[in-house]
């Protein structure tokens, strides 16, 4: 790795420095656009007591769900969880803590975190359990609650293509939370399907500029489908 070249040689190198008790922000929506190999690396590292910030927590045996198998997650910050039996079991037994956060607020917490905004007001969640303990302020005659932004020790991101400088392009709806996650990690690690040379990607089409990316690796992906819905041709 030299200059702006962000490419690392192995998944061990990609996640080096991750330790017990750290906060990891993960891109992905359901199983779509999840950094599946970086998650598998976290499992191999056997780090524990992690706080994971991700819209969902995978399913049994795939995605973030595999980190539940060895009880590596202490807390999830998510908008929708429980598609997995193991998650439910650990939650009910008190081994796992969940901070449920409205999906748009979660996206904005990551965006703001990466953009140096410590907190923001939103009408989302006012009058609901989400507002408990939060400052309320009226703007334009409407009450809003103060939400704090999020930064992670690590951010793990799944892209489609990137150049060696870490400029990333996402594919279809696999974009989802990935661009915000990429901005919000002290160390941002991106895995992609293809790495190209600088200059090969059109600068006007870059979703995540390389300035946000610390480490880049090319992987192969299973891309499991959660709800396979088709129509007849």
């Amino acid at each position: 790795m030299a200059g702006f070249d962000k490419v690392v040689g192995s998944y061990e190198e990609a996640m080096a420095g991750l330790d017990n008790g750290m906060t990891v922000i993960a891109g992905g929506f359901g199983l779509c656009g999840i950094p599946e190999n970086l998650i598998a690396q976290i499992k191999r590292m056997r780090v524990r007591d992690l706080t994971i910030v991700s819209n969902n927590c995978g399913i049994d045996g795939f995605g973030l769900g595999i980190l539940l198998e060895d009880k590596q997650i202490r807390k999830m910050i998510s908008s929708y969880v429980g598609e997995n039996a193991l998650f439910e079991k650990q939650l009910l037994e008190g081994e796992l803590e969940v901070e449920l956060t409205p999906q748009g607020t979660l996206a904005e917490k990551m965006r703001a975190g990466g953009a140096g905004i410590p907190a923001f007001y939103t009408a989302t969640g006012y009058g609901t359990p989400v507002a408990e303990g939060k400052e309320v302020r009226e703007f334009n005659g409407r009450p809003h609650i103060l939400e704090q932004s999020i930064r992670g020790d690590f951010a793990i991101v799944k892209g489609w293509k990137a150049d060696r400088y870490g400029n990333v392009v996402y594919r279809h709806t696999a974009q989802n939370f990935n661009p915000m996650a990429a901005t919000a990690g002290k160390i941002t690690v991106v895995e992609v399907e293809e790495i190209v040379e600088p200059g090969e990607l059109d600068p006007t089409q870059i979703h995540t500029p390389g300035i946000y990316v610390d480490r880049l690796i090319q992987g192969s992906f299973e891309k499991r489908i959660e709800q396979r819905t088709v129509r007849s041709a």
């Binding site: 449920l100 939370f177 396979r228």
Partner: protein, 218 residues
């Protein structure tokens, strides 16, 4: 007769207007897409980051990177755009979506909605529902009027934890079309063959019944 799922979707579809950007929730709201009137253009927003959602793919079109907010595989229509979750909720929170249709457990006369949490049962989360109800001006809630054992879901005050406060103005149940005005439900239409008396009996919250309540036709 109470409305079928399809009839509920058909009735909601009559609220669509040409050029509307629409977010349809999971379940019955999704069916509304099947009844967009001929000659009308409506663009569907899916909160995972898609505007211009098309039908399910054929086997040949199936793509793991192309899903909707219900995590189902979908396609895009010509003129679609794809963006991040932050951008998606900027549209929603910023009031740019013209119509939002979603389900609920309870609605009350103050326009409060409860749709995500039943204490004592496993709570899976609110997903994007709190952002949707807080951001949209034009929301239609679709739900059954009463529970299986006959308890009204249209209340004076919601008993379940809220999804949003004071944000609902239109409710379509299997029995009636109602609007919420000045702290009361107003009965606007009734399902074919359903009497005003039955609707009154199954509405726990304050209800104004006009002299003439038209019957829906399909």
């Amino acid at each position: 007769m109470a409305l079928s799922r399809e009839q509920i979707a058909k009735r909601v579809a009559r609220e669509l207007k040409d050029g509307y950007y629409v977010n349809l929730g999971i379940g019955i709201p999704t069916l509304v897409a099947n009844y967009v009137p001929e000659g009308m253009e409506v663009m569907l927003q899916s909160e995972n980051g898609l505007l211009g959602m098309g039908p399910f793919p054929t086997e040949a079109e199936l793509d793991a990177d192309m899903i909707n907010a219900g995590k189902q595989t979908v396609t895009t229509l010509p003129g679609a755009s794809i963006f991040s979750s932050a951008e998606s909720f900027a549209m929603i929170r910023g009031g740019h979506v013209d119509l939002t249709v979603l389900g609920a457990f309870e609605v009350d006369v103050q326009g409060n909605i409860a749709s995500w949490m039943i204490p004592g049962k496993l709570v899976k989360g609110m997903g994007g529902a709190m952002d949707l109800v807080a951001g949209a001006d034009n929301i239609i809630v679709t739900m059954t009027h009463a529970s299986k054992n006959g308890e009204s879901k249209l209340l004076e005050q919601c008993t379940l934890p809220l999804t949003g406060a004071g944000c609902i103005k239109k409710v379509l149940t299997d029995l009636a079309w109602l609007e919420i005005e000045n702290g009361t439900f107003v009965l606007k239409e009734r399902a074919p063959g359903v009497s005003v008396e039955e609707i009154v009996a199954k509405t726990a919250g304050r209800l104004v019944v006009p002299d003439h309540v038209p019957e829906m036709t399909f």
